[in-house]
C-alpha cells in the first residue's frame, strides 16, 4: 500500500501529523519558516502530540501555534502574558511538554516583567521568540528589540537602546539561551531539539524578518541585513540517546554538554572558542558581536544542572489535577485534631 511507504518517526507518526492549519501569515514571513523548522524538530524528536502544550501570547508570531501539531492543545493567552499562563499550567501537569511562541513585542515590551520572572522560576518549557523588531500585527510600530537607529517603514527612527533578549536571559541566569535565524534550519532544528531535551526554561531568540513592515534597509532584522551580518558561532550536532548514530565530525575541538534526558549535545567551535557554560563569556560574545553590528547565533549558554520550578516546589510526578479527595483532604481524624488545636 501507499501508506506503507510513508516515512514515520520513532512514535510511528508521519511528518504530516506534526502539521497544523494553513498559515494566515504573510507569504514570506520569517515566522512561517520557523513553523516549518518546528514541525521538523518535533517530528525528528518524536514528540507525542498528546503531551504537547502549545502556548503563545498575541501577535502574528503568537498565531503560529495554530500552524503545527493540530492534535495538541493550544493556549493563545492575552498579549505578553504567556509566561504566567504557562507557569500555572506547568505546575498543574509537569508531564506536559510546553512549547511557547512569542514575539518581541509580546516578550520584550508588554511581557518583559513576566518573561524575566519565568526565567527566574526556570519553568520547564521552550520559549521561542520570533524576533522581528516590530509589532507586525498592529502594522509595524517599533518594539523594544528594534535597534537604535533603525528606520521604520513609515520613516520614524528608533531613538532607544535595543533590549537584547538573549543577553538579558543570560544575565538573569536562564539555564538555556540560544539565538538563531528563521532562514537557518540547519542550525535551528538541532537547537530546537536541544531545547526540547533541556529541563528548565530554554530561550530561543530567533531573528525572524517581518517582510511586510521590517524588511527594508535600515532595519537590522531584515533578510538582507541579517544575511550580510550574520555570524555563525557554532554548528550543532545533536545525538538523541535513543539510538546510536555514527557521525563523522572531527574530534578534539568539541565541548560536550550532557542534557538531563541523557542525550548529548556536542558543539563544534567555529572561528573562535566559546564555552556555552561560561555566562560571562556568553555576555561578552553577544556584546562583541553587537559592537561590530553583527548578530551572533548558536547556543550561547546552557546549564543542564538547574532545578526547574516543579522540582524546586517538589511536586509529585502525577499531574496535580489527577489527585483525589483522599490525597488532598485532611482525614476526618486529622480534621478533628486540627479543630481541637484551633479551639
Amino acid at each position: 500500500m501507499a501508506t506503507a511507504s510513508v516515512k514515520t518517526n520513532l512514535l510511528g507518526l508521519s511528518r504530516d501529523e506534526y502539521k497544523g492549519l494553513a498559515t494566515t501569515l504573510c507569504a514570506g514571513c520569517g515566522h512561517n519558516s520557523i513553523t516549518n523548522h518546528i514541525v521538523k524538530a518535533l517530528y525528528d524528536h518524536g514528540v507525542n502530540p498528546y503531551r504537547l502544550a502549545k502556548m503563545s501570547g498575541i501577535g502574528c508570531s503568537s498565531k503560529a501555534t495554530a500552524y503545527f501539531v493540530e492534535r495538541a492543545h493550544a493556549f493563545n493567552a492575552v498579549h505578553g502574558r504567556m509566561p504566567a499562563v504557562t507557569t500555572g499550567a506547568a505546575v498543574a501537569d509537569r508531564d506536559l511538554l510546553f512549547f511557547g511562541i512569542s514575539g518581541d513585542g509580546d516578550t520584550a515590551s508588554i511581557g518583559l516583567g513576566q518573561f524575566c520572572h519565568l526565567l527566574r522560576r526556570n519553568v520547564d518549557c521552550t520559549y521561542l521568540v520570533e524576533n522581528n523588531g516590530v509589532y507586525g500585527l498592529t502594522k509595524g510600530q517599533f518594539s523594544a528589540t528594534a535597534d537604535l537607529g533603525s528606520v521604520q517603514k513609515k520613516g520614524a527612527v528608533n531613538q532607544l537602546e535595543t533590549i537584547d533578549i538573549a543577553g538579558l536571559a543570560v544575565q538573569l541566569g536562564a539555564s538555556f539561551v540560544a539565538r538563531s535565524f528563521s532562514g537557518d534550519g540547519a542550525q535551528l532544528v538541532p537547537l530546537l531539539r536541544a531545547a526540547l531535551s533541556h529541563r528548565g526554561t530554554a530561550v530561543l531568540d530567533v531573528i525572524s524578518p517581518c517582510v511586510t513592515f521590517n524588511d527594508h534597509d535600515g532595519s537590522t532584522k531584515s533578510y538582507q541585513y541579517v544575511k550580510e551580518h550574520e555570524l555563525i558561532l557554532q554548528e550543532l550536532d545533536f545525538i538523541p540517546s535513543q539510538h546510536e548514530v555514527e557521525v563523522n565530525y572531527p574530534e578534539g575541538s568539541a565541548t560536550e554538554v550532557e542534557l538531563h534526558d541523557g542525550s548529548h549535545l556536542r558543539l563544534r567551535k567555529l572561528g573562535r572558542e566559546h564555552d556555552p557554560r561560561d555566562r560571562i563569556a556568553a555576555l561578552q560574545v553577544i556584546d562583541d558581536a553587537r559592537q561590530r553590528g553583527e548578530v551572533v547565533t548558536g547556543l550561547l549558554y546552557v546549564n543542564p544542572d538547574t532545578a526547574d520550578l516543579c522540582t524546586a516546589e517538589r511536586l509529585p510526578q502525577t499531574p496535580l489535577r489527577d489527585l483525589d479527595e483522599a490525597q488532598l483532604r485532611l482525614s476526618p481524624g486529622q480534621f478533628r485534631e486540627l479543630l481541637e488545636e484551633w479551639a
Partner: protein, 611 residues
C-alpha cells in the same frame, strides 16, 4: 444589667503597634471566652509595622451579638499620642484605665471612673530587660482589667495556656505581669464603677477563628492544588494560612513531595494568569488578593470568562479607591468584580457572611468554577477575614469534589466528534478536555479572540453572537447552583437586605428596631447573580432597606437593575463607608427616622463616623 450573668461590655484598648499588645488583647479575649461569655474582638491597626496608634475593640455580649460598638464602656489608654481623642470614645460614666504619667485627662472626663496606673514605672521596677518590658507592659493592663471586671485567675490561666501553648517558657513572665496589674489595682485603687462579668455557659463547643483561616482550610478541603498569589493586606494571611496547612497536610513524609503548588507571583496580574493556566490544565487553582489586585486582574478575568476557564478569585476587600486605607474594611469591590473586564462580562460572586461560610463557600467556589467553567469570585473583607469570630465547629465535607464536565480518553472513545464550545446539554455549559488527554479528538485551541463551537478562530457576526449569548445563558442556568439567600422572619412590612460582614450588625439592629416597634424581615444575599427569591422578598415588603458598606450603594444599584423598576421602587439605600466595621447603631439610626416619619427618600448616605 438585667438577668444575672447578662453582659454587654465594649472594651477598647489603645496601644502602639509593634509593642506586642496583640497577645495581651488575645489573652483578655480568651479569658472572657473561657468564662463562657460570647466575645468578638476587632483590631483597628495602621498600615505600618511599628510605632503607630492601634486600637483593640472587644465586645463581650451574653446575648451573643457579634457586631462591635462604637463607644467604649471601658477604655485602656496606653498611647499618649491618642489619649485625648480616645477618652472621647468613652460612654458617659465609662471606665478609664490609663498610664498615670499621662496626667488627669481633659475636663469633660470628670463623669468617668478614672483608674490611673503607672504602667511604665511598674514595668520598669519589675522587668529588667527593656524589650521584654515594652512587651509585658501590655500584660499588666490585662491584670488591671481582670481585677476591675472580676475575671478569675482560672479563666486567665486557660487563656495563657492557649496563647503560649507553643512557647511554655513565656508563661510565667506573662503570668507575673498580669498579677502585677491585679495587685496594683487591689492595693492602690478602689473600684467605683459597676462593670462586672460573671461566668455563664454560652461558649461551650464554640471556636474563635478568623475568616482567612477558615477560608484557607476550605480551600485545602476543596482540593485546591495551585495557589498563585501576591502579598497584600488584608488577604495575605489567607494565603499564608493555606501554605501553613499545606506544609502540614500536603507533604508526603516519605518522599517529601508536596501535593500543592504555592507560587508567590511577581504581581496580581501574573497570579491571575497562573490561576487560568492551571485551571486550563485541569487543576483546582485559586488566588487571593484585595482591591488593587482585582484591578490588575481585569484583563485576565475577561479571558477566563470568554475562553471559559475555571478559577477561584478571592477578594478580601479593604477601603478603596486606589491604595485607600489598606487596614480598614469595606465592601467596595462588589460591582467592579461582578462585571470585571472590558466588553460584556458577568461573573458569579459568592459573599460569605460568617467564618463558617468562608470555609464552606471556598469549597462551593471550587465546585462552581469547574461546573460553570468560569472565574468565580469570593468576596470577603478585612473585618470578616482578619478578626476572630465565635463560630460552631467547621463540618467535615459530606460530598466529594464535583469536577464538572470533563471528557477523558475512554469517554472520547465513545464519541464521533468533540466540540469544545458546543452546548450539547442545553444548559449553556459545554464539555471540555484537558491537555495531555491521549485521544485524537481531545485537542482544541483556547483563545480570547472570536471562536466558534469547535474552538476555531472566527470573525463571523452570527457565530460571535451565538457564543456570547450562550455565555449569558450559562450564567442564568448557573444561578440555581449558587448559595441561596437566607431569609429571617417573613410577615413584616419592612425588609432589610444585606450581605457579607454586615450580618452581625443587622442581626443586632433587628432586635433593637423590634424593641422600638419597627418589625423587619431580613434577607441576606450570599451570591450574585441574584436568585429569584430576592424578587419575592422585595415583592412581599413595602419598604426594603439595602445595606451597603460602600459610598455608592453598589448592591443597591445592582438590585435596581436586576429587579426591574417596579420592585426597585421599594428599595432604600443605607450606606456605611468610613472604614470601620458596621455597628448596629449605625443601621438603627439610619432606619429609625425613615420608619417613624414614613418619608422614604431613595438614598440615605450614612457617614458612620458622623455619630
Amino acid at each position: 444589667m438585667a438577668e444575672p450573668g447578662s453582659v454587654d461590655l465594649n472594651l477598647v484598648a489603645s496601644t502602639v503597634n509593634g509593642s506586642g499588645s496583640q497577645s495581651a488583647n488575645l489573652v483578655l479575649t480568651r479569658a472572657l471566652f473561657a468564662m463562657g461569655i460570647p466575645v468578638s474582638p476587632k483590631n483597628l491597626f495602621p498600615s505600618n509595622i511599628e510605632g503607630l496608634p492601634t486600637w483593640f475593640y472587644l465586645r463581650a455580649n451574653s446575648a451573643g451579638y457579634r457586631a462591635g460598638r462604637r463607644r467604649a464602656d471601658l477604655l485602656v489608654a496606653l498611647d499618649r499620642a491618642t489619649f485625648a481623642e480616645d477618652v472621647k470614645r468613652l460612654e458617659p460614666g465609662g471606665v478609664l484605665v490609663y498610664e498615670e504619667a499621662f496626667g488627669v485627662p481633659e475636663p469633660g472626663a470628670d463623669h468617668l471612673h478614672l483608674y490611673p496606673v503607672p504602667f511604665a514605672s511598674l514595668a520598669k521596677s519589675a522587668i529588667p530587660d527593656p524589650d521584654l518590658r515594652k512587651y509585658l507592659t501590655n500584660m499588666i493592663y490585662v491584670g488591671v482589667v481582670a481585677e476591675i471586671l472580676g475575671i478569675p485567675d482560672s479563666a486567665l490561666e486557660d487563656a495563657l495556656l492557649h496563647q503560649f501553648r507553643s512557647k511554655p517558657n513565656a508563661l510565667s513572665s506573662n503570668r507575673q505581669a498580669i498579677a502585677l496589674g491585679r495587685d496594683y489595682f487591689g492595693t492602690h485603687l478602689t473600684k467605683t464603677d459597676l462593670l462586672r462579668v460573671e461566668p455563664i455557659d454560652r461558649t461551650s463547643g464554640k471556636l474563635l477563628l478568623e475568616g482567612n483561616q477558615t477560608a484557607a482550610l476550605g480551600a485545602l478541603m476543596a482540593g485546591c492544588t495551585v495557589l498563585a498569589w501576591y502579598p497584600i493586606t488584608p488577604s495575605s494571611s489567607l494565603a499564608e494560612h493555606l501554605i501553613g496547612l499545606a506544609d502540614r497536610y500536603r507533604v508526603d513524609p516519605a518522599s517529601g513531595e508536596r501535593r500543592i503548588a504555592t507560587i508567590q507571583a511577581e504581581d496580581e496580574l501574573a497570579a491571575a494568569g497562573m490561576v487560568l493556566g492551571a485551571g486550563w490544565a485541569g487543576a483546582r487553582s485559586m488566588t487571593t488578593t484585595s482591591g488593587p489586585g482585582i484591578s490588575l486582574m481585569a484583563e485576565f478575568i475577561g479571558l477566563g470568562y470568554y475562553a471559559e476557564i475555571p478559577g477561584v478569585f478571592v477578594d478580601v476587600q479593604r477601603v478603596g479607591p486606589s491604595t485607600g486605607l489598606p487596614t480598614r474594611t469595606m465592601q467596595g469591590d462588589v460591582s467592579f468584580a461582578y462585571t470585571l473586564s472590558h466588553g460584556d462580562t458577568r461573573h458569579p460572586v459568592l459573599i460569605p457572611g460568617t467564618v463558617l461560610e468562608c470555609y464552606e463557600f471556598m469549597q462551593w467556589a471550587f465546585d462552581l468554577a469547574e461546573q460553570l467553567q468560569t472565574p468565580i469570585f469570593v468576596l470577603s473583607d478585612l473585618d470578616l477575614g482578619m478578626n476572630l469570630w465565635m463560630t460552631d465547629p467547621l463540618p467535615y465535607p459530606t460530598t466529594g469534589f464535583d469536577r464538572g464536565k470533563v471528557l477523558h480518553k475512554d469517554e472520547l472513545d465513545q464519541m464521533a466528534r468533540f466540540e469544545r464550545y458546543r452546548d450539547v446539554d442545553g444548559d449553556g455549559v459545554a464539555w471540555r478536555t484537558v491537555p495531555g488527554t491521549e485521544h485524537p479528538l481531545a485537542a482544541y485551541f483556547t483563545r480570547g479572540s472570536g471562536h466558534d463551537e469547535a474552538a476555531r478562530y472566527t470573525e463571523s457576526d452570527e457565530t460571535y453572537t451565538r457564543v456570547i449569548d450562550r455565555l449569558a445563558r450559562k450564567l442564568e442556568s448557573g444561578i440555581e447552583k449558587l448559595p441561596p439567600p437566607l431569609l429571617e422572619g417573613g410577615s413584616a412590612e419592612v425588609g432589610i437586605i444585606a450581605y457579607g460582614s454586615s450580618d452581625p450588625a443587622v442581626e443586632e439592629a433587628l432586635d433593637v428596631l423590634a424593641v422600638e416597634g419597627v418589625a423587619a424581615d431580613y434577607l441576606r444575599l450570599r451570591a450574585l447573580p441574584m436568585a429569584p427569591s430576592v424578587a419575592d422578598f422585595v415583592a412581599a415588603h413595602e419598604r426594603v432597606y439595602v445595606v451597603d458598606q460602600n459610598r455608592d450603594g453598589q448592591m443597591f444599584q445592582i438590585l435596581q437593575v436586576e429587579l426591574g423598576p417596579l420592585l426597585a421602587a421599594r428599595l432604600r439605600s443605607v450606606r456605611h463607608y468610613d472604614g470601620l466595621p458596621l455597628f448596629a447603631a449605625d443601621l438603627v439610626d439610619a432606619i429609625r427616622p425613615l420608619e417613624s416619619t414614613r418619608v422614604g427618600q431613595s438614598a440615605v448616605p450614612l457617614v458612620g463616623a458622623g455619630h
